[in-house]
Subunit: 346 residues, 4 copies
């Protein structure tokens, strides 16, 4: 079976494992106070031009979102996000568990527009309603789409004006930064958000995301919040070492670029097969519309996710990752071609 | 510097890393639905004779305690634990963050007695006070001491009688099970607790603890609680593989036994040096009383923790781990001997 | 100024105050354990045929909703409600503060349909999403509209089938029960909900709502939840006495009927003035569309709420209450007539 | 039966009820935005010399403590209080429900000393433990004892030095301010606390406490916190009117003084009977030691609370209130005398 189900299906990139192996006889200070964590932080600060940001490593995306939101907001303050936002749909109420309401903006492609932020902000006029205080966006979005630099800056300016924090979920920041259509540079995330995170889990690590807090006022006591949320790793150095592996050379970008190349091959192949796209793909999440029969026959050959089922067709999500190669992509395309043909001949 | 600071100072036991390396080209289903996780669960069920327990893997101890307590209790229900209990002192209010009060029993050596449970239970008579509903104990305790089987059974019987759950924190369960003075077998933990966890972080893993829920009534929907608390690993299989490594042979017990052997060597050496013990050591946490000057001069040679400072001496905690060996222990003993002599000669 | 702003603008109905005055030299047991509270509960059980329900008095609507939802649900369980639902819009995230997500169904008139419940339930398939467990409806709704008995039964049957609790917010249950178009009897609320509350604040009391829990499984330990939420009144007997006043005769229904009569007079008058209704009025909340100029000129004569402002007109809410009378209603209608005329003549 | 059980056993002081009656035909703006609430706030500001304090009315003590603590602290910040503190013992974990840990100082008489605050503060050194941020004291304490001005100032100075907020629970502030041994004036509470509350429930009101926030930094958005906690009264003016009644003349102090006079009569009588006091009484809570037989025989004649039962005697709490008079006190004393005699003659 060819695995196109997600980008967290492999253990870790060989260079990440090598890094751990090379240091297996060392001992380190616990809880992220070690020198490898310090080194990793320094490397990221350089790559992102984030001199005065606070950086810390956490195990996964949900816990990162949860801690950031709970730490930045007062109990009655709310987060604005797209209806499709990960925190709104796929985190089992992790944000509400911290006491915060999520205010949603309808979205088709995962993106939100600055005018909609203003609108929802203006609707919340007094203490009978929650107080909007943060905007949550993902780049790439949950549908693989990308914000432009102009859009990001526009949203940040609106946030600044309204006294809202802008928080950006970068679970797949790597493929975003290395996408063909991207015009946002690493340092822009430091300039135009209050905080964001750099995803490691979906970019070759065993586990680990790097939370980057740019807004000085939000940095204080974050380690207390992390510990209270059960997320301060005793072996923080394991995160430190992994992020050293990612950023001491350009491995973070290499992996991401490779994943995008795999995605491009897949997209081009699908275009040749005249497969219709649910949303024009920009990164490594590819949403296509397939007849139910085709989905059914592919199930035993390719691992993928059925995103939504409509009366006439299914929206299928295909995801590329670092363990794929050109041969596997071609093989998958052949299987899809065959399934489509069989369906036409029925 | 010889590291006697803690048992989570090394990356992972070689056999654990090997397991990951050997499978680095595989892809797996996410979120712990993979076959390696299933295999690890089966292995643990066999070793602990826990056929009808529910087993799941979590990253660390605090998040495991947090989820178990939040999932098992109603908001106004409270946990009884020793004043020295990890959840009471060293988890930054992680339990309170979930809304639950901790009721404490004074303890000198980390242990609590069944009569004290009855006493505190009886003090809580109506809805103006929280409702005690769980007893939390650790084995070994935070002071390295051990419960006997008789004590464990006694506490469990009291809990059963009073309608309390017994939850056991097994962050260092390995060294407990393999200690010379231990008379509790793995299956006893299944028989005499409602839930407990088997610590991996302090026993050779990169990260990971195995939560074992014996009480059927507490098993339902635990995955919702895990996800909501941000603790459902996308790469669950990394936990699965590590626990396979621990339990497919007897690695879990081998590591623990080795750590205890290192502890015995250290304790015997300390006895010869006439060092006084704060508490008679039973496992790999060794608490000794040292004059301030001795502590000061050892600081540059050995990594350790100052647990408490008294006017005349310090209580120092020394911890053994899988990366030590007889030579290193002897070297440390020599350093201590020298520091003690220098102090006497002052 | 004629007050048509809300139905909680007066201190308390004369008969309620009389009841308190008549007993001002008595002393009572605290926290609702007194005989007057017991008597009030018995009276309500009789009127609603609620023999095996558990009844308790709370100060206001938000705290009642908050406690009920927090007590009935596990942390990851969610409430389904209309986008217009009071808990979703006007309680400052009180429900989310208890950790629960609200899942919304788009609503124009405050009502939801049983099919929409099924739809949203089916969308929540696994532990990556919250688990729908309760449906929240209001009767009358936040727009003054009413459910029919058929609709209520239909929703309850769907809930039963899907394992959801049905909770009904009866902040204005009185005007609902005594409305011309109502076909639901008091006992139906006991038969076709798991819990509901009978509003006192908006029906003549100083403060106080009666929470009625029909589902046996949800009754246990509710007093612990009330106390923990800071809502167990030391002077519970003040609630008890007030509810005795409401239910020992038919005062509850008399007040509600009177409020509805006032509403009818107002509605008939508005119809004669050809005022357009935003929603056909059924109870004492009357939503009308008025040109901005009319709203502006009425502001100094009548107290009311501007519910929503559109480019061409405002949606204005008028509410009747027990302190109005026919003369005041006529006076208000004259003012509206005049304002409308002046606007036409501009 | 003579009621000496508590000071919240009567409906409300006649002058308070009169105030409500006199205004029963008025209508008011909701949620505390009315002119009576504004007037009451002004009156309190004058009496307490609290020009720049923020004042708001809440229904009872637990909800006031809960909101103040939750609003003032970040999630990982903790409250220091006496083991006997109301928030620690008798609020069913209401504080923990908001996520905050309570750190306790052993207390025999309800009071804490400034040195103990320093000690507990110094024990909390890093992010593995909660961060102490508030000190909670009650005056009078839960044992009826009083702080001196020197003690209050000393505690406040320590708090200022350590960056802790000082919050004072004034559930019975009236009897404190009018006690013979008191040397703290109303304005001292404004000068030497960050926030405190003036109890109404136990001083003649139907319900209601006045939260006074002196520290500017803690005032912001408190109405959001109140609403989110379900404690923003729709009929806020009922609180406003009651506090007008208390403070437009000196009714607040008159009631309190009267209660203290009743207490003095009772104490003097008890002294004549050679009853032993558990704690020397200073206000209206009188703790005495009585043989079990005496307690048993008094149960049918006087309502009181058994605070604690020891092998040889019971600690009984007697409380005076505004509905007592000299005759009733004498009658109670006679009953006690008789019970004591009967016991001696056995």
């Amino acid at each position: 079976m060819i695995n196109l189900q997600n980008d967290y299906c492999g253990i870790a990139h060989p260079k990440v494992l090598e890094k751990l192996l090379a240091n297996q006889n060392e001992t380190y200070i616990g809880y992220g106070k070690d020198e490898k964590t310090a080194e990793a932080i320094k490397l990221i600060k350089n790559k992102f031009n984030a001199k005065s940001s606070y950086i810390t490593f956490l195990a996964g995306g949900t816990i990162t979102n949860k801690i950031a939101i709970a730490h930045f907001l007062k109990p009655y303050e709310a987060v604005i996000c797209a209806t499709t936002g990960h925190i709104n749909v796929h985190e089992t109420g992790a944000i509400e568990e911290t006491g915060h309401k999520i205010l949603t903006i309808n979205s088709y492609d995962g993106k939100i527009k600055k005018d909609e932020i203003v609108k929802i902000y203006n609707m919340h006029t007094d203490e009978h309603m929650v107080k909007p205080k943060m905007v949550y966006i993902s780049n790439p979005t949950e549908y693989g789409t990308l914000y432009t630099l102009l859009e990001l800056k526009g949203i940040y300016e609106v946030c600044q004006k309204l006294g809202l924090y802008l928080y950006l979920d970068g679970a797949r920041l790597g493929v975003s930064l290395t996408a063909d259509t991207n015009d946002i540079s690493p340092s822009d995330y430091v300039l135009y958000t209050d905080a964001f995170y750099i995803g490691g889990v979906k970019n070759g690590l065993l586990m680990g995301e790097a939370l980057v807090i740019n807004n000085k006022a939000l940095q204080k006591d974050i380690r207390y919040a992390i510990k209270q949320n059960g997320a301060l790793s005793a072996k923080g150095f394991v995160n430190g070492l992994q992020f050293c592996a990612l950023f001491e050379d350009d491995l973070f970008f290499e992996i991401a670029r490779y994943i995008n190349v795999m995605a491009s091959l897949l997209v081009e192949g699908l275009k040749k097969l005249k497969v219709s796209f649910f949303i024009p793909p920009q990164t490594n999440q590819i949403f296509i519309n397939l007849p139910h029969n085709v989905v059914e026959s592919l199930k035993t050959k390719i691992k993928f996710t059925i995103w939504e089922e409509n009366p006439t067709f299914s929206i299928v999500r295909l995801v590329t990752h670092y363990l794929l190669n050109e041969d596997l992509i071609n093989e998958a395309l052949l299987m899809i071609e065959e399934a489509l043909k069989n369906n036409e001949n029925r």
